[in-house]
Amino acid sequence: MKVDTVSCGAVSILMPRGALITDEVPDFQGEVQSASQAMGGRVVIDMSGIPYLDSAGIQAVLSLYTEPNRTPFRPKLASLTETCRDALDLTNLISRLEVFDTVENAVRSYNP
């Protein structure tokens, strides 16, 4: 999985490209973890480049919020595609995640 990274002040914006499925989960998790450690957890994942995810992908996203937190902040999700949003809705997980309509809103949420 190709993941582009852009810094926006104290926040790192990750832009993964491609489906978040079993084979791609390790790459995704690795990128998020390293960005998260570097930025103290201030990471926004721009999901607009992820056309769909499978159950392993959902598990990977969920683990961002359920695994022990070693940083002061948690990553935030932005710009989910319709299919990804449907999948998270169906699994009743979307309420457990921090999801924003736009990357800008997600970045802003770190600086209230």
């Binding site: 056309p51 769909y52 499978d54 159950s55 392993a56 959902i58 319709e82 449907d86 169906l90 699994t91």
Partner: protein
Amino acid sequence: MWTADSLRGRRTIHVIGSLLPLIGCILATAWAGDMLVRTVLIAVGVGTSATIGLAVHMRNDVRVGKRETSTLVEIPTRTDVRDDRVLHRMLDEFLNWLAQRDEDHLWAGFDQLLREMVAEHLEGTPVRCYHVVPGEEELRSLAQATASVTTSKKRLLGGVASRVVESGDEYVADASRDGARDAQRDGSSEERFDWVWPIRRHDKTIGLVMVGELSGAVVREPDLRRAVVTLVQLMWEHVAALEALRVARRTDRSSGVLNRGDFFSVALNVLDHAYRTGEPVVIATLTLEGLRALDDYGMWQDRDALIAEVGATLARRLRSDDRVGRFSDDRFVVLLRRLDGDLGSLIVGKILTAAETYIVETFGAHGPVGIRAGLAVSGKEQPALDTLLDRAFAAAKTARERGKRLQCHDQAIAEEVGHES
């Protein structure tokens, strides 16, 4: 705005409610022997709540029809032979397009036709055509409307588009400032538009046509623009009626979902696209058990209501790019895109729960009717549709044998292997 008095001495085009559909007659006559077109034209008239008549008024305010019955717009036009030629050519091209239309891509074809007509006859380019969906913040491209495999191509509703949709009035760039017209930017993009007009139905905007750069001559010709708008409005309604007929033909009457033949044709397209892009697909079969018992007890109405309810549940619960068809009297087939077996099982499980709730409420917890599902997953193997269907039916059979409500083909095999070892 203009009044009836202001029209005196002009040649006018009237769109008159409750009159004979002259344009319908023209089209129907031109398309000799095609009953479908006649039916569609009548449907267009009915669909717009009045029989639409297009009467071309000749000089000196000679009127066709009663003034009191006019319910739609009244459009003045200049006595310009060029205008007539433009309208005539557009109508001719529309008739030719109708004769060769691709039933599966009606809106996409109409989109292309419209763009070509505006570019050629009005020197307007680029042209963007959209459906306006009530309550949605986005406009939907016509080109994507009937594609069997859709990719999202939408425009945010904002700026000049938003104003035209809400007001129902056209927007035209300021023609007085020749050479530097005051074209408006669309709120959601950097595109500028000289001309934006709405397609209206029952006082609501259902479509939008946006023209980037328009010939200065046309900008200064309100009568020609209004005539074109009216003509395109009629064409639009005609295409909408054709699309409604197409959908009606493909739909199973009892359940409201695709009939078997059309499900296969749609599903093959979706599967082909999914395999080319490497997307996973799940096929699920839902089997209603005990329908024969309802027949035997004379509960035909309950039986039909059950089938209608399952069809409605499927339509309600599935996502927009999933496909569902009625395979046989008691079996439904569902194609779920971009899902693996686990997520597919979750969706189908929720559908089963909804259907079971209805069954229990109607026939009781221990009634004669039940519902079961079998799933097959494409995975990396990418099997043919027939193979996936066979596997899904086999899984449903296994579910029945094991007293389960839902069974995935892969799991069934894994369990069998585990059992044998």
